[in-house]
């Protein structure tokens, strides 16, 4: 997958590295702002209140 992406990025190596960085940050932002907040309530280490 990663080789496929690398092969399809245009430009010389330096430009590609930059694009890879931007792609990586975009994925991280997607995880931090969308995926993880959605996932969090389903995971078993964030509940602090008692309930009946």
């Amino acid at each position: 997958m990663y080789t496929w992406i690398w092969r399809h990025l245009p430009g010389p190596t330096g430009v590609r590295l930059l694009q890879v960085l931007v792609l990586f940050l975009a994925v991280v932002a997607l995880l931090f702002f969308v995926v993880f907040p959605w996932l969090e309530p389903y995971l078993p280490f964030d509940r602090v209140s008692v309930s009946q």
Partner: protein, 318 residues
């Protein structure tokens, strides 16, 4: 253009396109498929590992940043509300002068501000999701203060410690119960495990300061003497229907009775002559929520708020 195949070749173990060396093309391509599959699995596993690590970073650091911003917004909203209450628009200069004079004396004498909690009324309304009080824990440092939010659903607790809406309010007979995150979301209750008996839990409301102190721990109750420590006046091991109430307990998440008026007694009724307690709940052990850590404290002192007056207990930093 001349560079591209070379660069691709370095990072790419794909077999050369068929036809480049006709004789080996058949065995190479089947080995290439296997290699591609194995490499795909490897990349997927590494990717998942990185995602899990990122989740840890998110949970432990990023939610703290988000939580701090929400907490700051809630605090400034509460401060605005309180200052509006303290200084109605009709206040003239004469009033200001009186207040300033009072301030000068109040700073000197804390006893003058001490009040009987029975005479204090709750003159504020609470809205789910909004702050209505502040908690100070001097033992955690002079700067430890969080705005307490009404409500304990995940959105409320993201902002700060949340008050169980069915429990009593600060200073009232019964149990003022608050939940807070131990790890992530600002981590207000990260250090509850470090609280010692008699440590002050100071609650500021619109009109009052309420000073609670952590009750004796279960292993300290025998041989307890309230004079053994400067700050233990008014803190005694509990007896009667309160006998099971100690400074710190670890309970199951389903043990809702710990936040009820008499902790451990399954009744929402505040009995006559009930004590004025505070209860803090957080997850336990750290980084898990298999159990809950519960801190119980008892009201030992109340002060009326005055401009410039801070309870002396806030200086009990250790």
């Amino acid at each position: 253009m001349t560079e591209e195949p070379a660069t691709a070749g370095v990072l790419d173990d794909d077999p050369p396109p068929p036809g480049r060396s006709g004789r080996h093309s058949a065995p190479r391509s089947s080995g290439g498929v296997l290699r591609t599959v194995i490499r795909g699995i490897g990349q997927t596993l590494i990717t998942l590992g990185v995602v899990v690590l990122l989740f840890v970073v998110y949970e432990v650091y990023v939610t703290d940043l988000f939580g701090e911003r929400k907490q700051a917004a809630a605090t400034s909203a509460l401060d605005a509300q309180w200052s509006e209450h303290a200084a109605p628009a009709t206040g003239g200069t004469a009033v200001t002068t009186v207040v300033e004079t009072a301030q000068a004396t109040a700073v000197v004498d804390a006893e003058q501000q001490a009040v009987d909690p029975r005479t204090r009324k709750k003159n504020y309304d609470t809205t789910l999701g909004d702050g209505f009080a502040k908690i100070y824990v001097p033992a955690f440092g002079a700067d430890f203060v969080f705005t307490i939010i009404e409500g304990t659903n995940p959105d409320d607790l993201y902002v700060g410690p949340g008050h169980y809406p069915d429990t009593q309010y600060p200073g009232q007979p019964g149990n003022f119960s608050v939940a807070g995150h131990r790890v992530s979301k600002g981590s207000p209750f990260n250090d509850l495990g470090l609280l010692a008996s008699c440590d002050a839990l100071v609650i500021e409301t619109q009109d009052d300061w309420f000073v609670y102190r952590v009750l004796p721990m279960a292993d300290e109750a025998a041989g307890w003497s309230s004079t053994q420590h400067d700050h233990c006046a008014g803190v005694e091991p509990q007896s009667g229907q309160y006998a099971q109430v100690t400074g710190r307990t670890i309970v199951d998440p389903s043990d809702y009775a710990v936040v009820l008026p008499v902790p451990g007694v399954n009744s929402t009724e505040v009995p006559p002559g009930a004590e004025r307690l505070i209860t803090l709940t957080t997850c336990h052990p750290q980084f898990s929520d298999a159990e809950r850590m519960i801190i119980h404290g008892v009201l030992v002192k109340s002060y009326a708020k005055a401009p410039g007056f801070l309870p002396p207990e806030l200086k009990e930093t250790s």
